[in-house]
């Protein structure tokens, strides 16, 4: 069978289409999903492309089922994924909590929409808390926040590798704008770029007669005593802390001498980037910092980036969710005042950021 993508090529498509291609490129075997705007077209493209490459798809009865069938698929050794957003993201937290407890390497793509509740089908960055910490546990998961179609492609592929290497549930956190907009990117066969897909293994249903040739796989998520659970969580935390330095990713520029550092993630960081360029052109000392991993958070990198700053400006399409992460992670490393340009559920333009920074700089 031909590879879905031979070599590399420039493409101009919607973000949802990008995700479908990326999953193909990553040799994903099966997608489970339930329709929700703005992620629907991931399924639409996957169902169109899938049969050509012997890929499977199951439309489930709800997001609870999409999450748990994904868990099942992964347990059986398939490179499986799902996608959702908004209220669907809430419902998937139940299965994520099981994946966290049992270290099941699920991959979930979130296209954030306005919230809370059904709200809007358009866009927001309001699922940051939910995606990083939404279960009844300690948030032992990995969250990549993408800003461009290229990111969507790269990090969807990477998410599979991260999940299967570290065995923590892994998210690609996009949004309605990225989902629905078209822009150019380069899609490629990962191998060609030297990216090897981490092989998957069945956690259930291995070869051989259980109890005879091998021990049966007996997997559980329930414990009888507090102490059993305590030991496991402590162990997970230790491992999470150990791998965090390998995992954290960020992007920064113009921070060395910046008096104001703009912190933003995802699609909003594109506006920040433009704003920084524009402001720098006017001689205003402003820097750009974008956490790519929201969990784990690149706290040390951020501390480094703001060394010279007098003020931080967090810009997000939410009412302070990134602010919370920044405060959590900078506590003890910084006492700089944090200003917010907080636009829950609406996009942020570079003009607004420029204006805001100028107003702040004037003080």
């Amino acid at each position: 069978m031909a590879k879905p993508i031979e070599g590399e090529k420039r493409a101009f498509m919607t973000g949802n289409e990008v995700v479908a291609w990326a999953a193909l490129a990553a040799q994903a075997d099966i997608m489970y999903g339930y329709p929700i705007t703005p992620q629907n077209e991931i399924m639409h493209y996957w169902t169109r492309l899938g049969p050509k490459f012997e890929k499977k798809f199951l439309q489930t009865e709800d997001e609870i089922s999409a999450g748990f069938t994904t868990v099942g698929g992964v347990l059986s050794g398939a490179r499986a994924f799902t996608a959702t957003g908004g209220p669907g993201n809430i419902l998937m937290q139940e299965s994520i909590s099981m994946a966290e407890m049992m270290r099941i390497p699920t991959v979930m793509v979130i296209q954030q929409r306005g919230g809370p509740s059904t709200a809007t089908v358009i866009y927001s960055q309001q699922e940051v808390m939910l995606t990083t910490h939404g279960g009844n546990g300690e948030g032992h998961r990995i969250v990549y926040s993408t800003a461009t179609h290229q990111d969507l492609f790269d990090y969807t592929i990477k998410a599979f590798n991260t999940a299967w290497k570290y065995r923590f549930p892994t998210f690609v956190l996009g949004d309605g704008y990225q989902a629905k907009m078209r822009e150019s990117l380069t899609i490629y066969d990962p191998e060609m770029r030297g990216v090897k897909m981490v092989p998957t293994v069945p956690l259930l249903g291995q070869e051989g007669m259980p109890g005879v040739d091998r021990e049966p796989s007996l997997l559980r998520n329930t414990f009888n005593t507090e102490e059993e659970l305590y030991a496991i969580i402590k162990d997970y935390q230790q491992e999470y802390d150990r791998i965090a330095p390998e995992l954290v990713e960020h992007e920064q520029f113009a921070c060395e001498d910046a008096e104001i550092v703009i912190i933003s993630h995802g699609v909003v960081s594109r506006s920040s980037k433009m704003a920084v360029h524009e402001l720098r052109a006017e001689g205003i000392k402003v820097g750009y910092f974008r956490p790519i991993t929201l969990r784990p958070f690149p706290a040390d990198d951020l501390s480094g980036a703001i060394a010279k700053a007098k003020l931080l400006l967090v810009v997000e399409s939410a009412e302070g969710q990134l602010v919370k992460l920044v405060r959590q992670n900078l506590y003890g490393h910084s006492i700089l005042p944090i200003e917010g340009l907080l636009k829950p559920g609406v996009g942020v333009t570079s003009e607004e950021i420029v204006d805001k920074v100028k107003a702040l700089a004037a003080h």
Binding site: V71, G205, P216, T222
Partner: protein
């Protein structure tokens, strides 16, 4: 002296005695399942999923690959496995709460899609694990922790007719039956047929088994038998409801 245990080969001896209460019907249903697995020689092919509910106590019950899932979520987990690995034989094992209350959307949609899995549902007329609350299957007048004055059909309805519901939407190829631990041989036959039906790739296979919960029923052995043999069948008709290949209504 070497008298052999009369235990299904697929049971995991190291974990016996199992964790179910004295007189619990789960043990009998799992015996029926174990015998079926033995007879069909599929111990290395079965993936067993158990629900949260007392069925979770079966997480290390068999020498069969097993995953304990969430309350009501065993059907989708096993569906997910089967879809990705059609060579496995998926068994979703759950209680009446897990199957007919919190997981009923999964059950009816798996039936609608004709998922090639076998779902076994233990009907003990209450929520055993959480200490005996009313279940969709509790009998009229039955006292439970959340119907302390007896289940009142006027306010909480009549016992859920699970297999009948599944049969109403399942199509050609599906197998649906209701057994009882009061007739273990028959129950074993039903479970075996449900597995064979999956192995043949026919369609969704569903067996409800009337079972006992002496702990929450607060019954001695005699009353336990009475309840499952005399009371429950008043509301739940035992037998095969849908068998592939036979003429429908």
């Amino acid at each position: 002296m070497s008298i052999e245990l009369s235990m299904p080969k697929s049971w995991r001896q190291e974990t016996k005695p199992h964790k179910f209460c004295p007189g619990c019907g789960h043990g009998l249903v799992l015996k029926a399942l174990g015998r079926s697995i033995d007879e069909l020689g599929i111990q290395d092919k079965v993936v067993f999923g158990c629900d949260i509910g007392c069925s979770l106590l079966a997480w290390d019950f068999f020498n069969v690959d097993t995953v304990q899932t969430h309350h009501g979520r065993t059907t989708p987990v096993i569906t997910g496995i089967k879809r990705a690995r059609p060579d496995r034989i998926g068994v979703a094992y759950m209680g009446d709460g897990g199957g007919y209350a919190i997981g009923s959307q999964h059950l009816v949609n798996a039936a609608m899609r004709n998922e090639r899995i076998t779902a076994i549902l233990v009907n003990n007329a209450n929520y055993g694990m959480t200490g005996g609350q009313m279940a969709p299957t509790s009998l009229p007048g039955m006292k439970t922790e959340t119907s302390p004055y007896g289940r009142d059909p006027e306010h909480t309805g009549m016992p859920m007719q699970g297999p009948e519901m599944v049969a109403a939407i399942a199509r050609e190829g599906a197998y649906v039956a209701r057994g009882t631990i009061a007739n273990v041989r028959q129950a074993t036959t039903f479970i075996k047929r449900a597995l064979e039906n999956q192995m043949a790739g026919n369609g969704f296979s569903f067996v409800e088994i009337l079972s006992t919960c002496p702990t929450n029923w607060s019954t001695n052995a005699k009353d336990t038998w009475h309840f499952v043999e005399q009371e429950m069948p008043k509301y739940f008709k035992v037998g095969e409801i849908k068998v592939p290949g036979t003429k429908e209504e």
